[in-house]
Amino acid sequence: MKPRTWIILLVVLAVAALAGLALGPVSLAPGTVWHALFGDGDANAVAIVRVLRLPRIALGVVIGAGLGMSGAALQATLRNPLAEPYLLGVSGGAAVGAVIAVALHFTSLAVLPIAAFAGAAFAVTLVLLVARAAGARGDPRVLLMAGVVVGAFANAAVMVLLAGAPAETVRGALWWMMGSLSDATWQGTRWVAVYVIAGGALLLALSREIELLALGEDPAAALGVDVERATRRVYLAASLVAAVTVAGAGLVGFVGLVVPSIVRALGARSVRSVMLGAAIAGGALVVAADVVARTARAPAELPLGAVTALIGVPFFLSRLRRMT
């Protein structure tokens, strides 16, 4: 990708972040926002900007970056431009974990993310085990199928759990499943950031292998890649990054699916530049979507996942056009 395009991407991210600070359900003058950033001025404005909006933007950038990188890595490794970070059971498993936590009335802030992550991690492990039992040696199709199987089971479990649950539980579970940055705290964001950065670094370290896996299993093996080991590492790293983002903000769909395509369309060629570009673009997209989620129907808040889902429509339309 040309240096100019990189700069444009970074500028877009910066603009999105600024919009996230300046815009929201409560309208604040730019001057007020600026002063509030440094702790000066109206105490309420300071609280809104520094305690509520700033960690939200930070979390949004981290979530978007994680989803973008995870999507880029999986699309290349699975040789499928429609692959996305939740593919290997992440969303289903996380939903089960979250619903169980909500149903058991855990009100502590920390329990829900941990339960979601645990559910996702369990589901990913299950997918890999199912694929191994089916005899596949990293065959993408078997893995995809295993992901579908585990996902279907998880969906059924969620429905069963919600069927007998009281209205509040259903509402709470649905709200979580639609994704939201509204619980962003500095402490929580720090944790998510640490794991996303670690996972992202792992994916970047695997970028040469991913580049070769994108050619196919036989060519990759011929060129010196230990196909089974490399694909397993990519799946684990990408899925765990996705699971961490789910723990931080619920299910935010379409970001991991759409952003790598956008970055490729902008000219990124190597897997490494696609992943890095997807990290930046993903962060910008999530922050921008969050601004829309907060302002479109103030004082109510739209779920973040609902806004990102809207992106899916033009994306798939354009792919359809390109196919015909």
């Binding site: 431009p81 070769l212 050619l215 036989d218 093996a221 196909v227």
Partner: protein, 265 residues
């Protein structure tokens, strides 16, 4: 250089072994060809070289080093394999594509070294693809694509080159081009091992031919020894004649219209 030593290869849960005790050698400086009907075990031998199927008995070795003692990277540095089919998920620039052949030499974070650059340039020249290094892989014709893949294999720098059906889908001109390139590469000292359906071209260019039949070697020798009408008829289960091409002096296989075979022996 590449040696299959009484190799038995069996797919999981298969009743019959796909390759049942095959021994052959592909030495340096020559083209060795593996031929045989569909399902005779040719591709399975290639898979064994890729490390994707482990021998039940016997072994594969490169320069007398057993394949299972080498990591994939080490193996890739010694033998370059061009698989039958390849469809990259995303378009690549030809130069970058060829550069992927240097994977086995680099570390995790390393970029392109001068040695890499030299190898890529050398390989591109040998394969005759230097003119379209900046084109995209999706814009290449069948023949160009094949040469680019051979260039990538050459960039791997090893002494052995294995190709699985390198001329499928190529027209006569491109087919000849590839075989002549392989011939030159062999003469330069490489061990070239290829699997092919193209019996006639194989007969002209290969030094030795291994004829596989139901997972076993039906014959392994010079074209004159292997290209015999009765043998080929039995293996391919089709009536044919082998005559001599006056222009090049090599055996030519001519399949006949179906009727009862000439000899019943």
């Amino acid at each position: 250089m590449i040696k299959f030593d009484d190799v038995v290869l069996r797919y999981p849960r298969a009743a019959r072994a796909a390759v049942n005790g095959v021994s052959l050698v592909a030495p340096r400086g020559a083209i060795t060809a593996i031929v045989g009907p569909n399902g005779s075990g040719k591709s399975t031998l290639v898979r064994a070289l890729l490390g994707r199927i482990a021998p039940e008995r016997g072994g594969v070795s490169l320069d007398d080093v057993r394949l299972e003692t080498l990591t994939r990277r080490e193996a890739a540095r010694r033998v370059a394999l061009v698989p039958q089919r390849e469809e990259p998920a995303f378009p690549l620039v030809v130069r970058d594509f060829i550069g992927l052949g240097r994977y086995a030499f680099g570390g995790v974070w390393s970029g392109e070294t001068p040695a890499d650059r030299a190898a890529i340039e050398h390989a591109s020249n040998r394969a005759g693809v230097s003119e379209f290094l900046q084109r995209r892989t999706t814009d290449l014709s069948g023949g160009e694509w094949q040469r680019v893949r051979i260039a990538r294999a050459l960039a791997q720098g090893g002494d052995a080159l294995v190709l699985d059906e390198p001329t499928a889908f190529l027209d006569v001109a491109h087919e000849m081009g590839v075989f002549e390139l392989l011939d030159t590469l062999a003469r330069e000292g490489r061990a070239v091992l290829l699997v092919s359906h193209q019996l006639n071209l194989v007969a002209r260019f290969a030094t030795r031919i291994a004829l596989l039949h139901n997972g076993a070697l039906a014959a392994f020798g010079s074209p004159a020894e292997v290209m015999r009408g009765d043998l080929l008829e039995k293996v391919y289960e089709w009536p044919l004649v082998v005559s001599r091409d006056p222009a090049v002096g090599a055996p030519v296989l001519v399949p006949l219209r179906h009727r009862a075979p000439r000899s019943t022996q």
